[in-house]
C-alpha cells in the first residue's frame, strides 16, 4: 500500500484493548500477536487446543444474478461444477499469461449466487475484473466492509462453536448459513492452519460481539486469541501458498503446484491457454518445501544452491517452525530437484544446509470427519 491511512477491522478496538502488536497486512492494520501469547504460544494453542483469529481484512464480494455460477466458472480457474450448493472451493483468478492475480475461496450458495473471499490487497482488482467481464443481469459487488471474518482453528474448534449454539462438524469445505443472536452468519469448515476449524462470516457490526463470545468459549478450552504472526507460521508448516510469495502474477499455478485448483477440462477460464501450454511443456520451476538441517532460518528471497554450488532457485517464504523447532521454507526450484535432495540456502551470506521435502511439514487433522 502506497499511501493513506490503513483500514481497520471491526475488531480494531478489541485488539487495541488486548494490547496486540499491530502491523500492516495488505493495507489493513491487523494484530500480529497478543500479550500473554506470542507467536509460538498462539501457534501451539491452534495445534493442541484452539485459536481464534480476526481475518476481517480478507475481502468479501458477491456475484449474483441468473447464471452467476456459470459466469464465475468461465472466469476463475477451478471448476464450480465439481461442487454442490452449500460447498466452498479454493480457486484462482489468473491473468492471460497464467499468472495469479489472486487465490480465493468461492462459496457456492446457488446457481445464481456466489460469495467470494479474496485476499485483502487483491479484492479491488478481482472485483474490477469480474465487473468488466460480467454480462447484463450479473451483479458483482465489493462487500469488503460489509462483513467481518473470524477463524476458529484447532482440534477443540467444535466445542467452541457448540458453546455458542452454532453448527459444527459439517464436511470439510462445506458451509452452513445460520443465525447467531438473530443475525445471519455463515459457518464454513475451512481454514489456513492445517487444523480442523471454521471460518465465520458475520455482518460487520456483529463481528465484535461474536469475537467476545468466541474468545470466552476458546479460553474455556485452553485456547487463545491468535494474531496473524501465528497464522503465517501455521500455514507455512502446511505449505499453503500465500499470495505475493508462493503465488503472484509472475508465478503460475503449474509452478506453484496448485494445478489441483484448476479446472483443466473446462473450455474457458482466464489464463487457460497459457496454463495448458505450460502444463504440457513442463514448468521451468516448481514449488518445494525445505527443512533446515543446520542452524538458521531462511527468509523470502534467500538463494538456494545444490551441494555443488549450482543455482537452483529461491525461497518464497521461510520461518521457524514452532512444531519442528527448526527452520522451514517454501521455495521455487529448478525442475531437476527431487525430494530428499540436500541443498544449501544462502541466509544473508551464511550457508545453511537443508533437505528438499514435499509439504506439509507436520501431521494435521484438517480433513478429519
Amino acid at each position: 500500500m502506497s499511501n493513506g491511512a490503513l483500514k481497520t477491522s471491526p475488531l480494531h478496538e478489541k485488539h487495541v484493548a488486548l494490547g496486540a502488536k499491530m502491523a500492516d497486512f495488505g493495507g489493513w492494520e491487523m494484530p500480529i500477536e497478543y500479550p500473554g501469547g506470542g507467536v509460538v504460544a498462539e501457534h501451539t494453542a491452534v495445534r493442541t487446543a484452539v485459536g481464534v483469529f480476526d481475518v476481517s481484512h480478507l475481502g468479501k464480494a458477491s456475484v449474483r444474478g441468473p447464471g452467476a455460477k456459470d459466469f464465475v466458472n468461465a472466469c476463475l480457474a477451478n471448476d464450480l461444477n465439481r461442487i454442490e450448493p452449500g460447498k466452498a472451493q479454493y480457486t484462482l483468478c489468473c491473468n492471460d499469461s497464467g499468472g495469479v492475480v489472486d487465490d480465493l475461496i468461492a462459496y457456492l450458495r446457488s446457481d445464481d449466487d456466489v460469495f467470494l473471499i479474496p485476499n485483502a490487497a487483491n479484492t479491488g482488482e478481482v472485483v474490477e475484473l469480474l465487473k468488466a467481464a460480467a454480462p447484463e443481469g450479473i451483479e458483482v459487488e465489493n462487500l469488503h466492509e460489509g462483513y467481518g471474518v473470524l477463524a476458529v482453528q484447532g482440534p477443540q474448534s467444535d466445542e467452541v462453536l457448540e458453546a455458542l449454539g452454532l453448527p459444527s462438524g459439517h464436511d470439510y469445505m462445506s458451509f452452513v448459513e445460520t443465525q447467531w443472536q438473530g443475525h445471519p452468519l455463515i459457518v464454513c469448515r475451512t481454514g489456513y492452519t492445517g487444523e480442523r476449524g471454521y471460518e465465520l462470516v458475520p455482518a460487520w457490526d456483529v463481528a465484535a460481539d461474536l469475537w467476545d463470545a468466541l474468545i470466552e468459549a476458546a479460553r474455556a478450552q485452553g485456547g487463545l486469541p491468535c494474531g496473524l504472526g501465528a497464522r503465517d507460521t501455521l500455514r507455512t508448516e502446511m505449505g499453503y501458498a500465500l499470495h505475493g510469495h508462493e503465488l503472484s502474477t509472475e508465478i503460475t499455478p503449474v509452478q506453484a503446484r496448485v494445478g489441483w485448483a484448476v479446472g483443466w477440462k473446462k473450455d474457458t477460464f482466464w489464463g487457460r491457454d497459457a496454463l495448458v501450454a505450460e502444463k504440457a511443456a513442463g514448468p521451468s520451476r516448481v514449488a518445494w518445501g525445505l527443512v533446515v538441517t543446520g542452524r538458521g532460518i531462511p527468509r523470502s528471497h534467500c538463494a538456494v544452491r545444490s551441494a555443488s554450488g549450482e543455482a537452483l532457485g529461491e525461497v518464497t517464504s521461510g520461518t521457524f517452525s514452532p512444531t519442528l523447532k527448526q527452520g522451514i521454507a517454501l521455495a521455487l526450484l529448478a525442475p531437476t530437484v527431487a525430494e530428499g535432495d540436500e541443498v544449501v540456502i544462502d541466509v544473508r551470506g551464511r550457508d545453511v544446509a537443508a533437505v528438499v521435502k514435499r509439504p506439509p511439514f507436520v501431521e494435521v487433522g484438517v480433513r478429519e470427519s
Partner: protein, 129 residues
C-alpha cells in the same frame, strides 16, 4: 512478559543493547527488554566467536524471532572472551530474562572509559520516548 524494565546499573545503546561492567575490563552484552519485546519470540541467536576482535558498531551476530531477524551490534571495541552457549538450546531466555540468563557475550574492552560514554538508564528511556 512483565512490564519492560531497564536496570539502573546498566549502560545502553541506540541499537537496544545493554552493557554491564564486570571485573578486569570485561563487559557483558545483551539486548534490552524493549528489543526482545519488539522482536517477539526469539528462536535463534547467532553469536560472535570467542577470540573475535570487534570494533564499536560492528555487526557481530543475529537475533531471530518467528517474525524477523535483527543484527546484533557490538557497542564497544574489544575482544570477545565468552559467549552464552545456553542460547543455542534455549534462545527463549532472551525473552524471559534479557538482563540475566539471556545475556549474549562478553567483551574485554579496549577502553573502559567508552562504557561511561554510553547512555544511562534515563537517557535510554528518553530515547524510547
Amino acid at each position: 512478559m512483565s512490564e519492560l524494565e531497564y536496570p539502573e546499573d546498566l549502560r545502553y545503546t541506540a541499537e537496544h543493547e545493554w552493557v554491564r561492567t564486570g571485573d578486569g575490563g570485561v563487559v557483558r552484552v545483551g539486548i534490552t527488554s524493549f528489543a526482545q519485546d519488539a522482536l517477539g519470540d526469539v528462536v535463534y541467536v547467532s553469536l560472535p566467536t570467542v577470540g573475535d576482535t570487534v570494533a564499536a558498531g560492528d555487526a557481530c551476530g543475529e537475533v531471530e524471532s518467528t517474525k524477523s531477524v535483527s543484527d546484533l551490534y557490538s557497542p564497544l571495541a574489544g575482544e570477545v572472551t565468552a559467549v552464552n552457549e545456553a542460547l543455542d538450546a534455549t534462545p527463549e531466555l532472551v525473552n524471559t530474562d534479557p538482563y540475566g540468563e539471556g545475556w549474549m557475550y562478553e567483551l574485554k574492552v579496549d577502553d573502559l572509559a567508552a562504557v561511561e560514554a554510553l547512555m544511562d538508564q534515563a537517557a535510554y528511556r528518553e530515547q524510547l520516548g
